[in-house]
């Protein structure tokens, strides 16, 4: 575990279950002090997607946080963008939340930049449209900021990725630090076992991620883990689960999907080490479904908390129920 948790900035459309699972893993990583949430920004979906992210954040946090400690979920307010059907059930539940109205969300280009400023070092995970990440590059001093503080940008391919090809091209062309591409094949190879969903989240029922998973598609089904796998690589590039390609570039195919092309370019593609695929899947499932545990006080105030391997490793699931989970539904 790194001495200083690495910041995570997540640009998502929050329209698939793997995005919800990735978000849970990010917050669990924060509780173990292996990462620290810089910003979550919803692009390409409506207010309910941001509200869903807020609910997850609340569920996996302990105590109230002010604006110095956590940034409100970002939202690209774009008229006509349909809301994510997946999140409808969850937001209609009475889960605790901090967002009440659209203005409670954060300005997207500002929260992406400020999320990086929040941490000494960060990783950026680009899953939703690149519109506002590209826009942030034009803000004063931001390229230099990213160059100094962002260790890597991980671009996720998925069936629903990228509705703004121009912005993605700009990001790839101008991004000042290493870029990694997680091809669709990575997510397709890692399937969450839908039949085990209720058991995995038995520690709190109802659970917004369970609601979302079931609302996404007729059960039972196994969800590909596009964003979750990319998040793992972003935070733990040395885990040994992945291999890297030579440098190349990412282009959009005629069907709208992205494709990695070896050759000139500043992007490397990740691939799963076949021998470690089962272990990787197990790690991802644990990392995204385990029960949140209140961290021990940091060093100097009673010892450093967290488990040895962090959110993407194995750890116990005992501890205080987070404030965001009503006692009536906490088990």
């Amino acid at each position: 575990m790194a001495d200083t948790p690495i910041g995570v900035v997540y640009n998502t459309s929050m329209t698939r279950p793997d995005a919800a699972l990735a978000l849970a893993a990010m917050y669990l990583g924060e509780l173990k002090r292996e990462s620290h949430m810089g910003a979550v920004c919803v692009v390409g979906a409506g207010f309910n997607a941001a509200l869903f992210c807020d609910i997850i954040g609340k569920m996996y946090s302990f105590g109230q946080k002010n604006g110095n400690q956590a940034l409100a979920v970002g939202l690209a307010i774009e008229p006509g963008v349909p809301d994510s059907p997946m999140v409808k059930t969850a937001v209609e539940h009475n889960y605790p939340r901090t967002l009440q109205r659209v203005q409670d969300t954060s300005l997207p280009e500002a929260v992406l930049r400020n999320g990086v400023i929040f941490n000494t070092d960060s990783v950026v995970i680009l899953s939703g449209p690149a519109t506002y990440l590209a826009k942030s590059l034009d803000l004063q001093g931001t390229k230099d900021l990213y160059k100094a503080r962002v260790k890597r940008l991980v671009i996720v391919d998925s069936p629903t990725q990228d509705k703004d090809a121009a912005a993605l091209r700009k990001v790839i062309a101008e991004w000042p630090t290493p870029i990694f591409f997680s091809p669709k094949a990575v997510g397709d190879a890692l399937l969450f076992p839908g039949a085990n969903l209720d058991k995995a989240f038995a520690w709190a029922q109802p659970h917004p991620i369970v609601d979302a998973y079931k609302a996404y598609k007729t059960m039972p089904y196994d969800a590909p883990l596009y964003d979750l796998a990319a998040t793992h690589y972003a935070v733990h590039p040395d885990s040994g689960f992945f291999t890297l390609s030579a440098s190349g570039n990412v282009v959009r195919a005629d069907d709208g999907s992205m494709r990695f092309v070896p050759g000139s370019g500043n992007v490397k593609a990740i691939a799963i080490d076949p021998a470690k695929k089962a272990d990787l899947l197990a790690a991802l499932i644990t990392a995204s479904t385990e029960k949140p545990v209140q961290p021990a006080p940091p060093a100097g105030r009673g010892g450093r908390g967290g488990s040895g391997r962090g959110a993407f490793g194995a750890s116990g699931g005992r501890g205080v129920i987070p404030q965001g989970i009503p006692p009536a539904i906490a088990k």
Binding site: N66, G67, N68, E109, N114
Partner: protein, 447 residues
């Protein structure tokens, strides 16, 4: 409007032995049958220290401001259609981020510039040009004074004022360059003389002679005044008389204050010649700003209501405790109530100033209509030092630029620098960025 045969130049001055006095905008200065008022737009930043009791500041809903405003904003009720309450703006670089403590050390500097505040208690200050000075750099040559920096606490330029942050960051609102703050004038007499004395036209020798003779600046320009009055219509004669009366009243207040020996508070440096009660001090200094705007001596100003971390006590309203310690109330209702009282005192003084601005006719409009004046802070909750959801009130219309009377709620993390960029645009200044701005404030302006 009275149409006179000959227009008077906008920058005409009344001159006399060792003195020169700018004039307010008179009807005679507006060319006959002009299609639009030529009144310039004034910009001002009034900085509140130590945050606000936000429970009693934020209107409950977006939209038209109701007649009954939250307690701290209540003093603005009668001019609610002249102000805009703006919610959710952020000064990100004021936050602790990786640096930690020093929120007061950063708050004001980050608010006015939108950049990281370099932590030093030494001479190696590093910030950037503040929003007001961006305007002054572009437009300052149009007036006698490019800008006017006023403060209600004596400026300090050195020393460690908060966890390694120089006092220069907490005592100065305006920064001309990344290393050069512009100390605010806190002595009423110095401010008066800057506006009407040697800084403008009076030679040092003449200035000394006039003071030795205890002569009013108005007496010095009496001859020129009579000549001008003869060429003015009734409306302009009345305006000129009102203006000269206000200058005289200020001069008398300054004279009176200079003789005061009352101590404000043992814990605070008392500048020479400062009225002991806060409200009087605010009124005297803001009256001079009003005259400066009215006479077009300057169009850009900052006004430090209190320095960041101010420990000023307000015994005159039953608050003998220091402001800053009170804001760390930890939920103590008695302390919170005292914070609210201080916040109301400041708002009452500010509202009175704005009302005077509104009562000051200027062509077919008034001075407030032709201004954009920010009343705000780089901290919201002073207890925990939050630098987002900042208390922000924008007064005036900027000469038909915005439609006030509303509460506008922006998305969180919207930089407060976006507001400043919007204000600068009104006076024709369009820098690519103002600190960490991401653009202009959509929905604020009429265009």
């Amino acid at each position: 409007m009275i149409v006179t045969k000959k227009a008077i130049h906008r920058r005409t001055m009344l001159k006399g032995l060792g003195a020169a006095l700018s004039l307010p905008l008179l009807d005679s200065m507006i060319p006959a049958f002009a299609e639009a008022s030529t009144a310039p737009v004034r910009l001002a930043w009034f900085y509140l220290p130590n945050g606000i009791d936000m429970r009693n500041w934020t209107p409950p809903a977006e939209g038209a401001l109701p007649a009954e405003l939250p307690n701290i904003l209540a003093p603005f009720s009668s001019i609610r259609n002249d102000v805009t309450v703006i919610s959710n703006l952020t000064a990100n670089w004021g936050r602790p981020l990786q640096v930690g403590a020093g929120d007061h050390g950063r708050a004001l500097a980050a608010y006015m510039t939108g950049v990281e505040v370099y932590r030093t208690a030494g001479a190696d200050l590093k910030l950037t040009t503040s929003a007001d000075q961006i305007a002054a750099r572009a437009n300052g040559s149009q007036t006698a004074l490019p800008s006017l920096e006023i403060g209600l606490e004596e400026a300090r330029m050195t020393g460690n004022c908060d966890n390694g942050y120089s006092c220069a960051y907490t005592y100065n609102v305006s920064w001309k360059t990344e290393t050069q703050p512009l100390p605010p004038i806190s002595d009423p007499k110095n401010l008066f003389e800057r506006l009407f004395g040697s800084d403008i036209a009076e030679s040092p020798a003449a200035h000394a002679k006039r003071l030795a003779m205890r002569q009013s600046i108005l007496d010095s320009v009496l001859g020129d005044t009579h000549k001008m009055e003869a060429n003015l219509g009734p409306s302009d004669r009345r305006k000129l008389d009102e203006y000269l009366t206000s200058v005289r009243e200020i001069e008398q207040q300054v004279e009176k204050a200079s003789k005061s020996t009352t101590i404000i508070d043992p814990g605070m440096d008392k500048p020479f010649g400062v009225p002991p009660e806060y409200a009087d001090y605010f009124r005297l200094m803001s009256d001079m700003l009003l005259v400066a705007f009215k006479a077009d001596i300057t169009r850009i100003s900052t006004f430090m209501i209190g320095r960041e971390g101010s420990t000023r006590a307000y015994p005159e309203i039953g608050v003998p405790d220091g402001h800053h310690p009170l804001t760390h109330h930890m939920g103590n209702m008695d302390m919170l109530e005292k914070v609210r009282q201080i916040n109301v005192l400041h708002a009452t003084a500010m509202a009175a100033f704005l009302k005077k601005m509104k009562e000051t006719k200027e062509g077919d409009s008034n001075l407030l209509d032709n201004s954009l004046i920010v009343y705000g802070s780089g901290l919201s909750d002073g207890n925990v030092h939050t630098h987002d959801q900042l208390p922000t009130l924008l007064a005036g219309k900027g000469g038909g630029y915005i439609n006030p009377g509303r509460h506008i709620i922006y998305q969180r993390e919207t930089p407060v620098a976006n507001l400043f960029a919007t204000m600068l645009e009104r006076v024709g200044v369009r820098p690519e960025h103002v600190g960490d701005s991401t653009g202009r404030l959509a929905g604020l302006t009429l265009s």
